[in-house]
């Protein structure tokens, strides 16, 4: 029904454009094409048939202490995202989506407090030169003070990301001195029962997607 309404509206718009444009009839084609451009959204979560092994990353956390990812997050539900703090759009949005969803867990009656506390949110920088432990700490404080922020050598981080199918390149300095960095495109959820990375979330995942799925992820179930 909605589609039909759009089509009629588009037709009217096209007609109106043709009338008012007088001679630039080729423009009206654009208006019609735009209306049908929107595609339906799929479910945010992708459950993997073959889970990723947790990367063997030993990095530095926001307190400047060594952080062994496998050791520290063993047996805990863990979400990992690769990004950088000088990123105005996707990185803070992704981390805020997870942080807000986590906050909403407080009201969830199905989970015990211990289960809620077991969740680990790990942000690994793709721009370690600028993202020092303190820079990461300051940024994460504005999102979720309990989130783990990791930095270290770019080569180590890149190699760890690669094992999760995430490809990142080192930050590049442009001619004007500005640094261009890259962020990962996916958040990976690790199963507390197996420590395998078994669910992927793309950039389109919303607060509601994470809110809905976190209880399952915490219990190592399929969302």
């Amino acid at each position: 029904m909605r589609k039909k309404t759009y089509a009629v509206a588009a037709l009217l718009t096209a007609a109106a454009l043709t009338l008012s444009a007088c001679g630039s009839g080729d423009d009206s084609g654009n208006a019609v094409a735009e209306v049908s451009a929107e595609t339906g959204s799929d479910r945010a979560a992708t459950v993997l048939d073959k889970p990723f092994e947790k990367p063997d990353l030993v990095l530095t956390d926001t307190h400047g202490k060594e952080y062994d990812l496998r050791e520290q997050t063993a047996g805990r539900p863990t979400l990992i995202y690769f990004g950088y703090t000088n990123c105005p759009d996707v990185c803070p949005l992704t981390m805020n989506n997870i942080a807000v969803a986590k906050k909403q867990l407080d009201r969830d009656k199905r989970l015990s407090q211990a289960e809620k506390d077991s969740l680990r949110i790990v942000f690994v920088t793709t721009d370690p030169e600028r993202d020092t432990p303190s820079a990461l700490g300051k940024w994460l404080k504005g999102i979720d003070p309990d989130a783990v922020g990791l930095t270290g050598s770019f080569a180590t981080i890149q190699a760890g990301a690669r094992t999760l199918g995430i490809s990142i390149e080192a930050p590049k300095k442009e001619k004007d001195g500005k640094v261009v960095s890259m962020h990962g495109t996916q958040v990976i959820a690790f199963n507390p029962k197996t420590d395998g990375g078994y669910v992927l979330y793309g950039e389109d995942a919303t607060v509601d997607d994470y809110t809905e799925d976190l209880p399952e992820l915490i219990r190592g179930e399929k969302p």
Binding site: V35, V100, W139
Partner: protein, 158 residues
């Protein structure tokens, strides 16, 4: 009699339309005709940088180009394009004739740096958009929650 009146009316209207329509093209002044909508800024994480999104619609028969943006809240506003996982600064962004320039999360966006204060949800940020041909356009950009997403339908509407 009635029928005649109606058809005469229609004829008059058609004539009026034809006149109005062709007056513009005669003088060659179709030009870009810009309007701005769907503006918002997600509440930034810190006081160091923020992103902003909006849609510039061009109903005119001539293309234009967004060349710079100034704001009361930031020492510097830059235009960014996103390709894949990396973003880079742009000198300008085109607003095609009869088309739109869409700045949206995950795509092209405005980047606010050297913030004078940290915008909070519920605030409004003032912007001035500058174009190659059209005069500057003032925009009041509301600050939304950090996780705000415009309704999906805005992408398919004008």
């Amino acid at each position: 009699m009635t029928r005649r009146t109606v058809s005469a009316g229609a004829l008059v209207m058609a004539a009026a339309l034809a006149l109005a329509g062709c007056g513009g093209s005669d003088s060659g002044e179709s030009g870009p005709e810009l309007s701005v909508g769907a503006a918002y800024m997600p509440q930034p994480v810190s006081d160091s940088m923020a992103a902003g999104f909006l849609v510039v619609t061009n109903k005119g028969g001539d293309g234009d180009r967004l060349t710079s943006v100034t704001s009361d809240v930031a020492g510097e506003v830059t235009l960014h394009t996103t390709s894949g996982q990396a973003m880079s600064e742009a000198d300008g962004l085109d607003v095609p004739a009869g088309g739109r320039l869409v700045l949206e999360s995950g795509g092209d966006h405005l980047m606010f740096e050297k913030l004078k204060r940290r915008p909070k949800e519920g605030d409004r940020v003032s912007l001035e958009l500058h174009f190659t041909k059209s005069g500057p356009i003032d925009v009041e950009m509301p600050v939304k929650s950090a996780t705000y997403r415009p309704a999906a339908s805005t992408k398919s509407h004008h």
